[in-house]
Symmetry: C2
Subunit: 352 residues, 2 copies
C-alpha cells in the first residue's frame, strides 16, 4: 500500500542538481533565471522518469494557498437541484485548476459552522455558500476572512460579497407573456396569488415569479381569474387546486409555480377527459426532468442550476485571484442574475 511518492529532493539528487534548481526548472522559471538548457532538460527528464508530482499539501503549507474551494449547501429534500449546482461549480473549478470540497448541512446551523471551520482549517482559498431555497437567512460569521460567493441565497442589504441568483422576476414575466401572447386571457395561478401578498412559502422565487406574472397581466389589463397559494409545491397539491378550478368550469390557462404542481394539474385535467393544450394551456417553472416527460411536453421556464453553480465558482476564483494580485483592493461584490430560459414545448395553444 501507498508506495512512497517521489519527492523533489529525490529528483534533484537523481539529476545531480540542487533542490532549488529542480524547483525552479519544474515550476517553469528555469529559463527566466537562466539555467542552462542542458540542465533543465536533464531535470525534466528525470522528473518524468521517476513520475514526480509535487506534493500539493506541502505546496499549500508553503504558499498558504491550496487551489481548493469549499462548496457548502443546505440542500434539503428537493435535491436534484443541488446536484446540478455542485456539478456546475466543480466543472468550472476544475477548468481553472481548483478542487472542491463539498459539504451538506441539511439546514443545521451548527453543522454549517463545523463544516465551514473544517474547510477553513484545510486552508480553502474560497467558499461557495449555496442554498436550495432562496429565502433570506443569517450569514455565518467569519466569512469575511475568506473570499466567499453566495449562491441562490437572497440576503437583505449588501452582504459585501458576490451573490448569484436566478432572474425569477423576468421568469415570471416570461411565463405570463407566453400565455398572453398566445391570446389567452382567462389565467389561473397555482402556487401563489392572486394578490402579490398571497404567498405561502418562504421561497423568494414565489414572490418574484408572482410579481413578474402580475406585472405582465396588468400591462394587458388582465388580472388572474383565480389564485391558489400553496405551501408545498407537490403534485397532490397541484391536483387538488386544479380540481377546484375545474369544478368551476374549464379554464383557458393555468400558470403553475413549479413543474411538480404542473404534474398534478395534468393528472386532474386528463382525469376529466380534457386535453392539454386543446382545452387548457399550462405553463410552469423549473424545467425539472418530468417537464419533458409529461405528455404533451410542458412549456416551462428553466432554473439553470448548472450554470448558476458554474457562475458562482468562476466569480469566486476571479475574486481569489484578484485579491492575490491586489491584496488591498476592494472585495468583489454585486448581484449576478442568471437568466432563466423558456423551454417551449407543447402545453400552450394559441387562442384566437
Amino acid at each position: 500500500m501507498a508506495r512512497k511518492r517521489v519527492t523533489l529532493a529525490q529528483v534533484a539528487s537523481e539529476a545531480e542538481v540542487a533542490v532549488s534548481t529542480a524547483s525552479l526548472v519544474l515550476s517553469g522559471r528555469g529559463t527566466e533565471v537562466r539555467i542552462s538548457e542542458k540542465v533543465q532538460e536533464r531535470v525534466r527528464a528525470t522528473a518524468a522518469r521517476l513520475g514526480y508530482r509535487p506534493n500539493a499539501v506541502s505546496v499549500g503549507l508553503r504558499k498558504g494557498s491550496t487551489s481548493t474551494l469549499a462548496f457548502v449547501s443546505d440542500s434539503v429534500a428537493s435535491s436534484r437541484l443541488a446536484g446540478e449546482m455542485i456539478k456546475g461549480a466543480i466543472e468550472a473549478a476544475r477548468d481553472r485548476g481548483y478542487m472542491v470540497f463539498v459539504g451538506e448541512t441539511g439546514g443545521n446551523l451548527t453543522l454549517e459552522r463545523q463544516l465551514l471551520d473544517a474547510m477553513v482549517d484545510r486552508q480553502v482559498d474560497g467558499i461557495v455558500l449555496a442554498s436550495m431555497l432562496t429565502h433570506g437567512r443569517e450569514l455565518p460569521t467569519g466569512l469575511d476572512s475568506t473570499p466567499t460567493v453566495l449562491l441562490n441565497i437572497a440576503v437583505d442589504g449588501d452582504p459585501g460579497m458576490p451573490v448569484v441568483l436566478p432572474d425569477e422576476l423576468q421568469a415570471g414575466r416570461d411565463a405570463a407573456s407566453a400565455l398572453v401572447d398566445a391570446g389567452l386571457t382567462d389565467i389561473h395561478l397555482i402556487g401563489s396569488g392572486p394578490r402579490p401578498e398571497d404567498v405561502r412559502t418562504i421561497s423568494a422565487a414565489a414572490h418574484l415569479r408572482l410579481q413578474g406574472i402580475l406585472e405582465v397581466l396588468d400591462a394587458h389589463g388582465l388580472t388572474p381569474s383565480s389564485g391558489h397559494a400553496i405551501n408545498q409545491w407537490l403534485p397532490p397539491e397541484g391536483f387538488r387546486a386544479a380540481n377546484e378550478i375545474l369544478d368551476a368550469g374549464t379554464p383557458q390557462a393555468i400558470v403553475c409555480f413549479n413543474d411538480r404542481l404542473a404534474m398534478g394539474v395534468y393528472q386532474a385535467v386528463q382525469a376529466r377527459g380534457l386535453r392539454i393544450p386543446e382545452d387548457v394551456s399550462v405553463v410552469s417553472f423549473d424545467d425539472a426532468s418530468i417537464a419533458a416527460w409529461l405528455r404533451p411536453g410542458l412549456t416551462t421556464v428553466a432554473l439553470p442550476h448548472r450554470i448558476m453553480g458554474k457562475r458562482a465558482a468562476e466569480l469566486l476564483i476571479d475574486s481569489i485571484e484578484h485579491d492575490r494580485a491586489h491584496p488591498d483592493g476592494p472585495a468583489a461584490t454585486g448581484v449576478h442574475l442568471v437568466p432563466m430560459p423558456v423551454r417551449v414545448r407543447e402545453s400552450i395553444r394559441a387562442h384566437d
Copy 2:
C-alpha cells in the same frame, strides 16, 4: 481579508509553555503524559481565548494523512442518482471526521486520470470511485497505492478492493414475487426480456433484474407473456412498448425496468381509458421521485443510492484506519450487496 490565523506557537508563547506542551495538551494527550492540570487548563484557556484552530494542511504534511476522501464519479445525464450517492458518502465521512473532494469525469478517462492525480497530489487518504451505470469497465492504474472502494461498479474478476453494489438480482425476484403473490400470471416485461439474453443496454442492472424475474416466474411455472428489450429506458419508449402490448389485448401486469418506463406505461394505459391497478397492474424499479407522484402511486423496488454512498465511505474509512493500524495486513476486499427495498404503493391489484 484573511486576517492571520493564530498558530500553535502563539498559543504556546501566550500561555508561557513550550510548543510541544501546547501540542500535547490540545491533542488531548496532556493527561496521558502527565502534564499538570494547571498548565493544561492555562493552555486550553488561551487557545480558546485566541480562537486557535490547528492548521489542517500543516498537520497533513506532518502526519502524511489528511482526513480527506476523494469521490470521483462519471455521472452522466441521469444524475439525480449521483447526487444521492455523494450525499450519503459525504454524510458518512463527516460523521467520522473526514472531508470529501468531489470530482466528475463525465466518462472521460483522461479527465478521470487528471482528477485522480490531483486528488492523490492533495494526499487524500482514500478514494471512492463511483459509476452511474454499473457496467464493467477498466480500472485506472495506480489505485493500489491508495485505499479505494468501488461504488456501483461491477468488475470482472477480483479487483482487490471492496465493491458496493445494489442487490439487483434479489430486486428482480422481489418485483416478480409482488406480482405472482398477487395472483397475476399474465406478465409482460418492458425494458428487457423475454429471454435472459434479450438485453439491449450495457447496464448490469438489466441482466440481473431480468434474471431475478425469470427465476421467480419459472419457479411458478410461468414465462413472460411478452418482453420488450429497449435501449433507452425513458417514458416515450415505455409508452410505445405499452401500446404494443395494449394493441394485442389488456395485459394483467407489466414489469417496467425503471420508473421512467413506467411513467410512459401509465400514459399509454390511461390514454386508453384503462385503469391502474384495476385493469393493469404495474411494478417497477428505482423509486425515483416520480414513482410517488404518479397516480396511483407506483410500487417499485428502490435503488438506495444514499445508503450505497454511505456504505462505500464507511468501508473506505474502515479500510484506511485498518491499514494504519496494521500496515502489513491484507487489503480490504469483497462485494457488498446493498438490499433494494420494495416500496409498496397502489399499482398492483390482487387477482383471484
